[in-house]
Symmetry: C2
Subunit: 94 residues, 2 copies
């Protein structure tokens, strides 16, 4: 996992909101965009950041591009955090 990329991606509220929207299942870029008062170009930038962090996956479906969550990385991240603080029941113990 690219720790730095993941943390940077999560640091922006718009990007976290995008992830939130994807909890209900895959959506096209346009569908995600409906919820935000931001240009498609800016949104696209956020997608790129999320994708680079491997937090979302994409798939072209005709003229649409469908985004979906990559849950695996969230697990990794949560584990990493739990691992970052001492004492208390260590999880994986890499």
């Amino acid at each position: 996992m690219k720790q730095q990329e993941v943390f940077k991606a999560m640091a922006d509220p718009t990007r976290r909101a995008i992830l939130k929207r994807l909890q209900g299942g895959p959506l096209t870029a346009g569908e995600i965009g409906e919820a935000f008062d931001i240009t498609p170009a800016s949104l696209s930038h956020h997608f790129a950041v999320l994708k680079h962090a491997d937090l979302v996956r994409t798939e072209r479906r005709g003229q649409y591009i469908v985004y979906s969550l990559n849950s695996t990385v969230f697990e990794d991240l949560a584990r990493m955090l739990l691992d970052l603080f001492p004492t208390k029941g260590k999880v994986g113990g890499k």
Copy 2:
């Protein structure tokens, strides 16, 4: 928990390294600084960010200021992340 503050705090590699150093137990600002090639002023800025996010606690001991981890917030954050991705065994379920 101030979600935004916490994520922003975690986004910087120097700050994550500071947290890492504190895993072994409380340290003074100076002791923490030894590990970084950065001025005390810059370090102090990072401390302020971590403190504002409630990730660390401070206590003055004589002329020193002692920093320690606030594990509680890490737990909150990890929980929040686990909660952010769908399906799979929900944790707290607020």
